[in-house]
């Protein structure tokens, strides 16, 4: 279980660029929930994920994992339980290292990075098998540097890396946004398979309303740092793209656009 309690956050406090974003923000995500998050640009979706992962500090309030307060915990320690994929495919992999080296590192997450060989040759078949499931032909490119792969291939690899070891939470920030429609579809199906197969609690930010409605079991819509729609279970299933579009339109009229 993941909870954010009474979160307050203002960027650049006390300067001309002061941007208040969260004012008593609350959210609890139950185990094995797959939450899709939509909302216009600047509504605070990425900030929300950054707070969960500890990439930014909050002004007040607490973050809890399974009831344990982790508000002051360093970001890198939180990632023992968290996997994350970013919008930019370059963020999740090391471009000058090979696919095999990237996977070997990911495979070692949670264990010591000591002076034993970086790649365990006995694991290569396992990596190859996982790469084959991606269906992008990466299983034959183990020794290719990741920088020479396409965005879609890199993103698939990043997704695989972030879920290779057991994690409790998966954080996805528009992770299909930079991809062509077909690759985006592939990555989305893969995500769904991984999340459901491993029962990982997931938060997925997306601008694709079809993904937001078609995947997951809870849908949240954000606006100006607030949750303005939160549908679970049956309500979530019934939420339609048209309904979401309607809310988007209403908001933008209210904002005077």
């Amino acid at each position: 279980m993941l909870s954010l309690e009474h979160i307050y956050k203002t960027y650049n406090r006390g300067t001309v660029n002061e941007t208040p974003i969260f004012d008593d923000f609350n959210l609890t995500i139950e185990d094995e929930e797959f939450v899709t998050v939509v909302g216009s640009n600047g509504s605070g979706k990425t900030s929300l994920l950054n707070i969960i992962c500890g990439s930014i500090d909050v002004d007040a309030g607490s973050t809890l994992i399974n009831g344990v307060d982790i508000t002051r915990m360093d970001d890198f320690k939180r990632y023992r339980k968290i996997g994350r994929v970013y919008q930019n495919p370059a963020m999740g992999t090391c471009s000058e290292m090979t696919i095999l080296e990237n996977l070997s590192m990911a495979d070692n997450k949670g264990k010591p990075f000591n002076l034993t060989p970086g790649t365990d040759k006995r694991r290569i078949d396992f990596y190859r098998e996982n790469l084959r499931h991606l269906g992008l032909g990466l299983e034959d490119k183990l020794n290719v540097t990741v920088g020479s792969l396409s965005g879609g291939q890199r993103q698939a690899l990043a997704l695989l890396m972030s879920t290779l070891t057991p994690i409790e939470f998966l954080i996805l920030d528009e992770h299909t946004a930079a991809l062509d429609p077909k690759t985006a579809e592939t990555i989305m199906e893969l995500t769904d398979k991984l999340v459901r197969g491993k029962g990982i609690t997931t938060v997925m930010v997306t601008h694709n309303l079809r993904y937001a409605t078609g995947y997951g079991n809870r849908l949240i819509m954000m606006h100006e740092g607030k949750i303005i729609l939160d549908n679970k279970g049956d309500d979530k299933c019934k939420t339609s793209i048209e309904e979401l579009l309607g809310i988007f339109n209403r908001i933008s009229i209210e904002c005077g656009n």
């Binding site: 360093d74 970001d75 890198f76 320690k77 990632y79 023992r80 968290i82 996997g83 994350r84 970013y86 370059a90 963020m91 999740g92 992999t93 090391c94 471009s95 000058e96 290292m97 080296e101 990237n102 070997s104 590192m105 990911a106 070692n108 997450k109 949670g110 010591p112 990075f113 000591n114 002076l115 034993t116 060989p117 970086g118 790649t119 972030s162």
Partner: protein, 294 residues
């Protein structure tokens, strides 16, 4: 012939520096000026210990440890106190100038007629007479080779993978639940340990420590790295450690040629600076072209 031997000797000693600079500049993307202080640090410790009759191998180990400690200081200043990378190195370098003077006790400490790795009971007996002129070169080569093989090995370990990852994409290190600051510090320690080792070897080869000997170390190291990496860019098979070693020898050869063709010692640093600027611009040119293609 003497000149060739001298170039190779100098080039191979600086190859060890180049390997250290390769770690900071190329892997970590951290322009670390501490090396201008850790190179003479290695020399100061070695000269002082050898002068008081301590085994030269022990003196080399002490130099390596001191270099690592200096790298740790630079790393802590940068990571914990959040001082910019360039400035962190400058702070350590400046402090080491006094430290080195304190260690050696004076600005110039000769160690003639002492036991060194080049002059001791064992090497004096195993080297046949006809190899005598190459004795120093061979021993330097062995030390440089050991450093290269060790570094090659390290970069293939789990810890080495993380070091490469942190320069490549720190976000990956964080998502692997590791502290990127710690990894950077480890890199700086290894780098400066290598540079101090080079200082230790150099001081035994030239048979003295001199407090000014570190000036410009970073420039020579960087030049060697950039020449080596640029030359061997197309050849994936050549390990970067080999590439920077070749770069170092080439650089020393250029300098030696410039001197034989009448470059005065006064102009030395000026020419070095211009040469370095040239190398940098050429390397940048290539990099931006590569970016455009990508």
């Amino acid at each position: 012939m003497d000149m060739l031997i001298s170039i190779l000797e100098q080039g191979l000693i600086f190859a060890i520096i180049a390997m250290g600079v390769y770690i900071t500049y190329k892997i970590l993307d951290f322009p670390d000026l501490s090396v201008d202080g850790t190179y003479p640090l290695g020399a100061a410790i070695t000269a002082t210990m050898i002068a008081s009759g301590i085994n030269p191998l022990l003196a080399m180990l002490a130099a390596i440890a001191a270099g690592a400690a200096a790298g740790l200081v630079t790393g802590l200043i940068h990571v914990k106190l959040k001082v910019r990378d360039l400035l962190s190195g400058i702070i350590t370098m400046t402090a080491l100038y006094s430290v080195n003077l304190h260690i050696a006790g004076k600005a110039n400490l000769p160690i003639f007629n002492t036991t060194t790795i080049f002059n001791n009971g064992i090497v004096n007996t195993i080297f046949p007479a006809f190899l005598e002129p190459y004795k120093t070169l061979i021993i330097i080569f062995l030390v440089a080779l050991a450093a290269k093989l060790l570094l090659d090995w390290y970069l293939k370990t789990k810890s080495g993978y993380l070091l490469r990852a942190v320069g490549d994409n720190p976000a990956v290190v964080t998502s692997l639940a590791n502290d990127k600051g710690t990894i950077k510090i480890i890199g700086l320690m290894i780098s400066n340990a290598l540079v101090a080792l080079a200082g230790s070897v150099m001081c035994q080869q030239q048979r003295f420590f001199e407090v000014q000997m570190g000036i410009g170390t970073i420039v020579i190291g960087l030049a060697a790295v950039i020449i080596g990496i640029t030359l061997f860019r197309k050849l994936r098979r050549v390990k970067p450690t080999t590439a920077v070693a070749v770069g170092s020898i080439l650089y020393k050869a250029c300098v030696a040629l410039a001197i034989t063709y009448g470059l005065s010692a006064t102009d030395m640093k000026l020419v070095t600076a211009v040469l370095f600027l040239l190398i940098l611009v050429i390397a940048m040119e290539r990099r931006s072209r590569r970016k455009k293609l990508a």
